[in-house]
């Protein structure tokens, strides 16, 4: 926590000491007006005092005053906030191998569900676009902050069929990103690039433009046989795309892992920890507690 005006804390401490001193004086004066009783020990055993009541009031005063003082000092808290001007393109592989059932129910359906969860969990304000790719890349949804639009687009993802043009998808994303902003690519694929632009070149391009590519390889270690051909993941290539662009690679062998990986990516790509001015919140919370404590004090016959 940092402060705009740390000197206010020192002033607050001095004021607090002064108030405590005044309070003690007042308490002593009030003490002189205490109800005189013949035997305090008997009284205490008779009424079973509840000392926590006064302790709660005291704690309320102290916490409330501290909150106000801290608030006036202009604190800044590092809080998780949505990335400013955040743009995320989800690139989903729709090649024929995505029909594999080694990931239940199919790699394509699991990817679709995970993408849906990613969009639903994304903080408001983040623009998300959707690109699918098989033999070529297709823009299913341009970057937009309307979740409903993006979710509707996810439902329009074509069925698995064709080759794997990872590079084309990355190039299409590159043409769609605004020149300024916090741009991120999330790539979900189960195969090896076998047509179109070289994805390694695109990854280097993104790296040069500070656009990280987060790659997720989907499929079990043994893969699956689709159309008489083995569908495996080129993990080395996916790790390389992520590394040169400043992103990260994750392997998802089932739907849960895919969902977790995307959720983690969602937190990393759409949320950042920034110092946030919290003075107003502290002052409001402190003032609120002050009022509540004051009213409680009045209610139980003590002010303050």
């Amino acid at each position: 926590m940092t402060f705009d005006a740390p000197w206010v804390l020192a002033v607050g401490a001095v004021v607090a000491i002064g108030l405590t001193w005044i309070y003690r004086l007042a308490e002593n004066r009030i003490g002189a007006q205490a109800l005189r009783y013949s035997n305090v020990a008997f009284l205490a055993s008779a009424i079973h005092p509840r000392p926590w009541l006064t302790r709660i009031l005291n704690a309320g005063w102290i916490v409330a005053l501290c909150a106000v003082v801290v608030g006036l000092a202009g604190p800044h808290l590092r809080l998780p906030v949505p990335v400013a001007n955040g743009n995320v393109f989800i690139c989903i592989d729709t090649s024929g191998s995505m029909a594999s059932t080694d990931v239940s129910p199919t790699r394509a359906a699991a990817s679709q569900a995970a993408a849906r969860a990613f969009v639903e969990d994304a903080p408001a304000g983040i623009k998300i676009g959707l690109i699918t790719f098989s033999g070529n890349a297709e823009l299913i949804a341009p970057l937009n902050a309307n979740k409903d639009t993006t979710l509707a687009a996810i439902d329009q993802i074509p069925s698995p069929n064709g080759a794997t043009a990872i590079g084309d998808a990355l190039r299409l994303a590159a043409t769609q990103f605004p020149p300024a902003g916090h741009n991120v690519v999330v790539l979900i694929t189960d195969g090896v690039n076998n047509t179109g632009v070289d994805p390694q070149e695109m990854a280097e391009y993104f790296g040069a433009h500070h656009v990280p590519i987060y790659t997720i390889g989907i499929g079990t270690p043994n893969g699956d046989i689709i159309g008489g051909e083995e569908s495996t993941i080129d993990e080395h290539a996916l790790e390389s795309y992520a590394e040169v662009s400043g992103g990260a690679y994750a392997r998802a062998e089932n739907a849960a892992q895919l969902r977790d990986a995307l959720a983690r990516l969602g937190r990393e790509t759409t949320i950042e920890h920034r110092p946030v001015a919290a003075g107003f919140g502290f002052v409001v919370a402190g003032a609120g507690l002050l009022v509540v404590t004051m009213l409680s004090g009045l209610y139980v016959g003590r002010f303050p």
Binding site: A34, R36, Y37, S38, N39
Partner: protein
């Protein structure tokens, strides 16, 4: 007239240590199998003694202090004396009847022990206090004194017997020291009322077991309180 060293026979009763051995009725002793003492009416004089707890805890009250009411009762007590009766006050120094000093600060145990040692047998003793310190450790002393004298205890009624007049967080200052800051609500008021009543009951039972008669000293009227103890109409 009072039970004492006279000649008019009143009753036979069990021997109590301190009884004049000349009063033991040997024939009755033989019949009863234990020592029996002949109780006769004193025809000389009556000794009226008063023991008042005048500590700070008695100097509280709603409109006036409990001690004021106690002094009223004591004055009325002495007012019953006839010619020849002797008056004695046990306690701290006080103007009025001759007194048996106990200590600078009143202490109930020492006062009772002093009364037991100083009062002659058969003395009519009126002891007034709030009796906060009275517990089962006093039982033997009370019983001994009760057998030795004709003892009456007046229990000062708590000024707030009818209810604590405060609410919320209240500071209480102990008359004999100590402070208490406590929240007083309906629950506390009810608990206090129950405790005050229970304390009076326990004290009355303790005095009864020790052979004392007892009653309540009301802050408002010491004389009426004394009358009530003895069932004397106003």
């Amino acid at each position: 007239m009072y039970r004492g060293d006279g000649y008019e026979f009143v009753e036979l009763r069990a021997y109590v240590p301190g009884d004049d051995v000349r009063r033991i009725d040997w024939a009755a002793t033989a019949r009863a199998g234990e020592l029996q003492t002949r109780v006769v009416l004193e025809d000389v004089a009556l000794t009226l003694a008063v023991l008042i707890d005048d500590s700070a805890s008695m100097q509280v009250g709603r409109s006036r202090t409990l001690l004021t009411a106690a002094e009223e009762a004591a004055t009325a007590w002495f007012g019953t004396a006839r010619g020849g009766d002797r008056l004695l006050r046990v306690g701290s120094d006080h103007a009025g009847p001759p007194h048996v000093p106990v200590a600078t600060a009143f202490e109930m145990r020492r006062a009772l022990e002093t009364a037991r040692a100083a009062l002659r047998r058969g003395t009519a003793l009126l002891a007034i206090g709030d009796w906060y310190e009275l517990d089962d450790r006093y039982d033997d002393l009370l019983a001994n004194l009760g057998a030795w004298c004709d003892c009456t205890a007046m229990i000062a009624r708590d000024p707030w017997y009818d209810g604590l007049p405060v609410g919320g967080i209240v500071r209480f200052a102990g008359a004999e020291g100590g402070m208490l800051r406590a929240f007083v609500g309906a629950r506390e008021r009810a608990a206090f009322a129950a405790a005050v009543r229970a304390r009076e009951d326990v004290l009355a039972q303790r005095f009864a077991r020790a052979g004392w008669r007892s009653g309540i000293l009301h802050e408002s009227d010491g004389v009426a309180s004394l009358r009530a103890v003895f069932g004397v109409p106003a």
